[in-house]
Every structure is written in structure tokens, then in C-alpha cells.
């Protein structure tokens, strides 16, 4: 596979700092040379991730890259976004791995944890020696996370957790689970070591999408944890939603990566593919598709970059992240479908990447706030009325 040099129609590189470009290019090279040669095999094996890459991912500093201290790189949010873009250019499963570890496990510990919790877990998670997972979604409560059934009850000086979590990335390989549960006075967050009695997992098989990623169910049957495992800064549902804003921000960038991979593959293919009367690139309908792709990628880049700058300036509202996630995943999915169209019959085999990205993006459209939920968040922002 030839090297990937990115898609930059409007010279947006000029708006990036040296370290933002360097971070992107370093991860880009890693994904091309180390990850992409492995992805096909892992996609063929349902629900597996190239775990042998974890030490190298950690060495690159990809876990919690925008957090500071505790062995984290301390990059700004634009550099972090570009890193997510490059990871998802490889596969949504690779970006999900880093998103969960950084935004959904390390971030809540960093933001809501005690010093002891930070010192115990963050260096281990940053170094990839410990893997984390995030337990919010349940079999019966997805978008309506506030309806969760999992309970946290006082048990002596500690807590007893009981419930089931579903669609949990890295659940069965995690050393620590961030578990959200309904306590006596509202939603509470806990760090649960996965070797505790009563904690069990089962992997979810038969996925058409995100096959290079491990998805599990977590079963907590009267799992006892000390109060020292509770995240004291996490008060109510806004704590897990705060984590999701971090992860959704990364997804808004990640989707651009998947879109760029599909666009680049399509451009390359149509220039080589001979059809009646010349190359496929010379057909009007082909060009219309490519123009749509390039225009939407460029708009998505501008959206993500502006949201990133606002995040770095501390002026971000979560509805802005909703717009970026909603739009960028939507156009990435359209671009992936269009690229697969252009690849014709070849587009359905896994020697080409468009269909892999396409089916991955169906998941990305659904998780971390579905497309429709983000529509309603924005709708409420505009009107002030929560729609039913």
C-alpha cells in the first residue's frame, strides 16, 4: 500500500503548529507501517485486536495524550484530535481502543479521581500496562443512560454493585472498569478491579462492524468495592456525560480519518480502473462523487479544527461537540458508501478498505450519542425545548 499523505485541499496545514503536524505525521506513519498490515487478519477474526501493538501505542504516547502529568504527553486538543484522525484512518477499532483508554477511563480518573486513584492507575494506563473499560450502557438503557438499573448500595464502609453493562469496548481484557451505578442520591462512578469476586465478562460475537475491536458484556453480581474506589468528584449523570463529551470530540476527528482513507482509495482506484472508453476517473458521475467527498472532508476538517481551538481556549459548549460528531460521522459514512460504489464489485472484498470503514461507521454513528440524539441535543440548544 502506498504511503498516505493526507487530504488538505484548503492548506489547513498552515493553521496547525509544528507539534500538531508532527504528532499527526508520526501517528500516520505508525498506522501505515505497523497497523494496516495487521488489520485484515483481525477483521476476519471476529472481535480481536492486535494486542501486540499496545506497548508501541503506549510508547508513542497515544493513551491520554491530551492529559497532563502521570506519564501523559500533555498535548493540546487539536493535536489530540489529529491523533484520533490518524488512528481512525487505520480503523475505527484502533481509534476506539485509544478513545476508551484515554477519554473514558483515564479522563474520569484525571478529572474526578483522588490523588491516590490517579497515582495508582494513570501511569499504568498511559504505559499500556493496564487496560481500562467504561461501563455506562446497559442492555435496556442506551441513549437514556439516566434510566440505568445497575445499583450501588452501601455495605459497611464500602459499596456493593449489582447490574449488567453491555456494548463495552475492551470489557473482557480490562484490568479496571469505570462503572456507573445508581446510588442512594444519584449516579456514582466506581473504579472496579476486574478480578473482584462477582465481576464477570462475556464477549459479544457476530458483529458486522468494529470487528477489530473487543466488545463485551459486564456482569456485576454483588461486587464489593471499598469507598476508596469511588470517584469522589463524579456527581450525577453529568460526570459520565462529561467523559462522553471528551470521547465524542475525538470521534469528530476520527471520522475524518476514515473518510480520508475512503476518498484516497477511491481516487487511486478510479485513476487505474479502465472501463468502457477510458479510465473510471473520466466519467462525470465519478467526478461528482469525488467532488462531494473532497468538499465534505474539507468542511469536516474546518468544523473539527474550530471546535478543537475552542476546547483549548476553554470556550467549548457540549452542543458544539454534538454538531461536530453528528456531521462528521454522517458525512464519513456517506463518503465510505460512495467510495464503495466507485470500487464496484471489488469494493465488497477486504483487500479494499472502503467497506470496512463503511460498516465500522455504522457503529460510530450509533455509539457515543446516536446521530438522532445529537440532533435532539442541537434541537434543544436552538429552541430551548427538550423534544419528545
Amino acid at each position: 500500500m502506498p504511503d498516505f499523505s493526507g487530504v488538505d485541499f484548503l492548506r489547513l496545514d498552515d493553521l496547525l503548529s509544528d507539534e500538531e503536524r508532527l504528532a499527526r505525521d508520526s501517528v500516520r506513519g505508525f498506522v501505515s507501517k505497523e497497523f494496516l498490515p495487521l488489520v485484515q487478519e483481525h477483521v476476519r477474526r471476529d472481535g480481536s485486536f492486535p494486542m501486540e501493538l499496545v506497548p508501541a501505542l503506549a510508547e508513542l504516547g497515544l493513551f491520554g495524550a491530551n492529559l497532563s502529568g502521570y506519564g501523559c504527553a500533555g498535548m493540546n486538543n487539536v493535536a489530540y484530535g489529529l491523533v484520533m484522525q490518524e488512528l481512525e484512518r487505520g480503523d475505527s477499532g484502533l481509534r476506539s481502543f485509544a478513545s476508551v483508554q484515554g477519554a473514558l477511563v483515564m479522563y474520569p480518573i484525571h478529572a474526578y479521581g483522588t490523588d491516590a486513584q490517579k497515582e495508582r492507575w494513570l501511569p499504568e494506563l498511559a504505559a499500556g500496562r493496564a487496560i481500562g473499560c467504561f461501563g455506562l450502557t446497559e442492555p435496556d438503557f442506551g441513549s437514556h443512560a439516566g434510566g440505568m438499573i445497575t445499583r450501588a448500595e452501601r455495605r459497611g464502609s464500602g459499596w456493593r454493585l449489582d447490574g449488567t453493562k453491555r456494548w463495552i469496548t475492551n470489557g473482557s481484557i480490562a484490568d479496571v472498569a469505570v462503572v456507573w451505578a445508581r446510588g442512594p442520591q444519584g449516579i456514582l462512578g466506581f473504579l472496579v478491579e476486574t478480578d473482584r469476586a462477582g465481576f464477570e465478562t462475556r464477549d459479544m460475537k457476530g458483529k458486522f462492524s468494529l470487528r477489530a475491536s473487543i466488545t463485551s458484556e459486564l456482569y456485576l453480581r454483588d461486587v464489593e468495592v471499598p469507598d476508596a474506589n469511588r470517584l469522589p468528584g463524579a456527581e450525577g449523570l453529568k460526570a459520565p456525560l462529561g467523559c462522553l463529551t471528551q470521547a465524542r470530540y475525538g470521534i469528530a476527528w476520527g471520522a475524518i480519518g476514515a473518510a480520508m482513507a475512503c476518498y484516497e482509495e477511491a481516487v487511486r482506484y478510479v485513476q487505474e480502473r479502465e472501463v468502457q472508453g477510458g479510465v473510471l476517473a473520466g466519467k462525470q458521475l465519478t467526478q461528482e462523487k469525488l467532488v462531494f467527498m473532497l468538499t465534505e472532508i474539507t468542511k469536516a476538517q474546518l468544523l473539527a479544527l474550530r471546535v478543537g481551538r475552542l476546547k483549548d481556549e476553554g470556550r467549548l459548549h457540549h452542543s458544539m461537540v454534538s454538531m461536530a460528531k453528528r456531521n462528521n460521522v454522517d458525512i464519513a459514512l456517506q463518503i465510505a458508501r460512495s467510495a464503495r460504489d466507485l470500487l464496484g464489485a471489488n469494493g465488497i472484498v477486504d483487500d479494499y478498505q472502503a467497506m470496512r470503514h463503511m460498516v465500522n461507521l455504522e457503529t460510530v454513528r450509533t455509539y457515543e450519542g446516536t446521530h438522532d440524539i445529537h440532533t435532539l441535543i442541537l434541537g434543544e440548544h436552538i429552541t430551548g425545548v427538550r423534544a419528545l
Binding site: 499523505s5 504528532a23 506513519g29
Partner: protein, 260 residues
């Protein structure tokens, strides 16, 4: 120990190249650049020496503003200090002019080792290393595929005709030009990139190096007149038939050409 690594920034391997209107070079506006592949192996070799022993790695590059990226990448990978020679006159130099610029830096820095790629992906001259060695009166070797150090002596395996290897010993200070593939080049880590922001980064002009009038456009001995894309061949022959028939005819063709 001090090691100087000479880096050139070249167009990205995947960049679409268009020829400039005067026909003498490519249009550089809007394309992506990267560190010359050969030079990345030289940098990695220097960083490995640094990892194994106490060493300062100084990276040097000549070129316009964009070259900052190449040097910052090298600092992010672990180099300690960067020198950027930025001067329109420097860029207009031919190989001997560039070698003179590097020689001025080498004389000022007195390194124990100068290491670089044996040629550049774009120009393919393979001239700088031997010229620099000549100008600085240092021993040198090219096409290095293995570098071993012991007590001020370097033992180098170099690639020669037909895949054979020649082993040479050089005493320090010396110049080594490396072949690609001699090591596995590391990636700049995000922490390394952040740390690179604080590392010394010197920018020098031709006047700073005391080379006014000696290099640049007026002093060139070799000038690129014209570049052209490879001509598309008209003589391709598509073999048709069953796999067996195609294979038989292909073997026949290869034998015809005396290649088998």
C-alpha cells in the same frame, strides 16, 4: 561524543509532482515534504549510538522555512539540538556548495562522527558525503549497512556490487553515508514532540558561516537544465490465455531477453 546527522527534506513519496514553468525543478507549493528516507536511517543509527553511550546528536539541514518540520521531527525522535541553514543563497547551491556549507558547520562543531544517508530520494547525486569528507579531511565510507563502535574506531560493513559486503575500519572523526534498511527507524513519540519544543534550535545564514560569495547561485558548477517525467512506454504487451499459457509465454519472453 558528538554526532552530526545531516538531513535533507524531500517531497513526500506520495506527493503529486508537477514540473515548474521554467522546467528546471518541480513545483514545491502545496506539496507535502518529509525527511529523505536514507537520512532517517542515518538519524536512527545516531540515536542508537546515543541510547548505548553518552552522545550528543546534532541534526543539520539546509533549506527554506519548511525544513523546520524535518528538524523538529528529528528532535522529537530524540536528537538534542538542531541547526537550520536558511538562506536563499544556500538553497541555490549545487552539491559542492552544500558540502561547503556542511563543512563549515562540521569545522565549527568538531564532531566525532558525521552520518547521513548515502543519497537523496529526489536528487540522487550521492555526492555530499564524499565531498564533505574531502573538504574536512576526514575518512569516509558510503553504502554502510552495519555500524559498530569500539574505542574510537568504527567498523563498518558496506554493501558492494552483487550484494557482497566489504568491512572497513575508520578512525574517528569520520563521515559515514548509510544505505536504507540498516535499522528499524523509530517514530517520534508525542512526549518526544512536546520535549522537542524546548531543545536548542539555531538558524544560520551563509554570512554567519563566513561563506559569503563562496556558495550559492554565482558559485555553482553544476546547474539543473531540465527535468522531465518518464516517457510512457508504448511497447507493453498484454499476455492472454490460461494461467499456464501466460506463464509459459512469460518464461519464453524472459529467456528471449537473456534474463534467465
Amino acid at each position: 561524543m558528538k554526532i552530526i546527522v545531516c538531513l535533507k527534506q524531500v517531497p513526500h513519496q506520495d506527493a503529486r509532482l508537477d514540473i515548474r514553468s521554467d522546467g528546471a525543478w518541480i513545483q514545491e507549493e502545496g506539496i507535502k515534504f518529509e525527511i529523505n528516507t536514507y537520512d532517517t536511517y542515518a538519524l536512527e543509527e545516531a540515536l542508537r549510538i546515543k541510547d548505548a553511550a553518552e552522545a550528543e546528536v546534532v541534526v543539520v539541514s539546509i533549506g527554506p522555512d519548511r525544513v523546520t518540520q524535518a528538524l523538529r521531527t528529528a528532535l522529537g525522535m530524540g536528537a538534542d539540538r538542531a541547526i537550520h541553514v536558511k538562506d536563499p543563497e544556500a538553497e541555490a547551491s549545487d552539491a559542492i556548495g552544500l558540502a561547503k556549507i556542511l563543512a563549515a558547520i562540521v569545522k565549527a562543531e568538531s564532531p566525532d562522527l558525521v552520518i547521513m544517508g548515502m543519497m537523496s530520494d529526489d536528487g540522487n547525486f550521492a555526492a555530499i558525503a564524499p565531498m564533505l569528507a574531502g573538504l574536512t579531511d576526514m575518512p569516509h565510507t558510503t553504502a554502510a549497512v552495519k555500524v559498530e563502535r569500539s574505542n574510537g574506531t568504527l567498523r563498518i560493513d558496506r554493501e558492494i556490487e552483487g550484494g557482497a559486503r566489504e568491512v572497513v575500519e575508520l578512525r574517528s572523526p569520520c563521515v559515514i553515508a548509510v544505505q536504507t534498511g540498516i535499522n528499524q527507524v523509530r517514530y517520534a513519540s508525542l512526549k518526544g514532540i512536546m520535549a522537542a519544543k524546548k531543545k536548542p534550535f539555531d538558524v544560520k545564514s551563509i554570512a554567519d558561516l563566513g561563506l559569503g560569495g563562496q556558495v550559492g547561485a554565482a558559485a555553482v558548477k553544476v546547474r539543473i537544465e531540465k527535468i522531465s517525467p518518464p516517457v510512457k512506454g508504448e511497447r507493453a504487451e498484454i499476455l492472454e490465455g490460461s494461467t499456464q499459457e501466460i506463464a509459459d509465454r512469460l518464461v519464453g519472453k524472459i529467456k528471449e531477453l537473456g534474463l534467465l
